[in-house]
Assembly symmetry: C2
Homo-oligomer: 333 residues x 2
Amino acid sequence: MSPPKRTTIHDVANRAGVSIATVSRVLGGSQKVNEEMSRRVLDAAAEVGYRPNAAARSLVSGRFRTIGLVMPDVGNAYFQDILKAVVTEAKKDGYRVVVIDSIGDADEEYEACLQQVPNVDGIILLSPRMSKAQLADVIAKAGAVSIVNRLEPGISAPMIVTDNAGACWEILEHLASLGHRRLVHVCGPTESWQARTRITALRRGAQRLGLELAVLEAEQGVEAGYAIADEALETGATAVIAFNDLHAFGVMTRLHDRGIRVPEDVSVTGFDDIELARFSRPAITTVGTPKLELGEQAWIGLLAQLRGDGVPPSTPISTPLTVRGSTGPAAGA
Amino acid sequence: MSPPKRTTIHDVANRAGVSIATVSRVLGGSQKVNEEMSRRVLDAAAEVGYRPNAAARSLVSGRFRTIGLVMPDVGNAYFQDILKAVVTEAKKDGYRVVVIDSIGDADEEYEACLQQVPNVDGIILLSPRMSKAQLADVIAKAGAVSIVNRLEPGISAPMIVTDNAGACWEILEHLASLGHRRLVHVCGPTESWQARTRITALRRGAQRLGLELAVLEAEQGVEAGYAIADEALETGATAVIAFNDLHAFGVMTRLHDRGIRVPEDVSVTGFDDIELARFSRPAITTVGTPKLELGEQAWIGLLAQLRGDGVPPSTPISTPLTVRGSTGPAAGA
DNA sequence: GTGAAAGCGCTAACAT
DNA sequence: ATGTTAGCGCTTTCAC
């Protein structure tokens, strides 16, 4: 019932007939150790099933072999692929990942970072919503920070983002070429930098192409897309630019229920290129936001700092547009 | 560039003009402390932005305020909701969650547990695939363990499962009542207890109801469902019982592409009742596997052990069948 | 009620 | 190349 007592470095040392320093050296690989001593230690460690106490190790070394991954919503499918990538990459380099859910609140996010900072080697922030000042503070206090989905001038950290401007432009061009003149954008949460960036990019692009663009804000998920579809249609748009594929799918389902055909009557586009986009019918025209790559880059940027190599530069990840069945010529064009 | 030095309990003690013991007592709330001293300490801590060093705390207390969550695939949507629930609940009680991906490998899973055990207060295992002996070993060595999606007699840990037998029976009865006599089950990975349990339950139930049942194994995800649909049809079945909604959706998409109508020609059922099930067209008849509840129960079971209250009993979580448009009368019935 | 001091398990000087 | 030892920051006896 009581927590079983741990086997310590002393147990190993006793069994192997050496000092604890030698054990530490063998296990840590820090210095040269006699071949046969090394073997004795390794054997002894295996025999007693020794596992190092991370707390003790951290206390003396100041390193934790642990990083924090902070995100607005652990339940959001978008972040899951990034989480997967980060966990996988971190593991390769011997790091654990602590998951922190900021429930989309800027202050909570900031506070969580402050709390974690003294107890992790580094922090990866996914779509952070805290203020720039808070961001700067966290970076100042943390050993290493990587940021995903936010570009903030004057901040010294790797900022891994997709090429939102390029993606938006491609979508607009595609729709314009199909004869669409009136568009509506179902945007994401405006607390997020990414949502705001896309709105701006779409507005600019639409203006340049001489297109009308309405913007509607929706909650997250398929249901939100379903719920806002009617309102989107009322704008008179012939094409809906959804914030992500889940939104797009929800919109399409609503259109289906109303007997409105996609793409004959209305075209729909998404973002992210999730599996669902390929297997929905019609399949969804969408622009990929390579999430595994976002996670990998975030880890690479963090690891560089952990190794003392400074903050590596990062370039926007390109976002390929994949045209599928959900977009077609504008009705009456 | 170098990691900023931490403020320690000494800094707070100095500033407040008290001993470190008093600071510890105030912050830990362990003993009675003079009202005004307490205030001085709290103020001082706030002023210097003091954050306790978790490693030091753990080293002396033997407690980590951290738990490990081990799962076969961090990228699998099914586990995400459980993860969310666990993170949320754990946070309420002041615990961090370390995410470990066992990449579906039993030995890797076991090894990861052994490694984490000395460095966390408890472990939650999602759909563990390790042997019963390994499971018992982990439980013996860990302070606290909760298991989700596996029932293993003679194991002393909360085992949180859904009522697979009941769920399977409900599906079979539903299909039988619609006149289906030949069924096919697209099962999940047979390394998983849940997949094996459902196969057994479906076989038993089919026999009892006098139904034919073929079983096909598929990979995970929508694409796998899409890929196996043709083979499923070749069995001559009029209804497909998919392992989960993603499979079901993939199957339905393939049927759509072949011009086979659901449910007029073939019925399809899923498991999990994810959002997609409601918004797919036709919507998917499925049985809910309340994932948030699984996560919550796992946490409750773990917390009880962390508090020294022993291993609480757990009862299977019931799984409501929701009939939607993807099932209908058997063709020619 | 408060302070002094021991020591958690380990790494990294420092000796030898 | 190996052993001895001083702490890392904190909690918790133990004195007062």
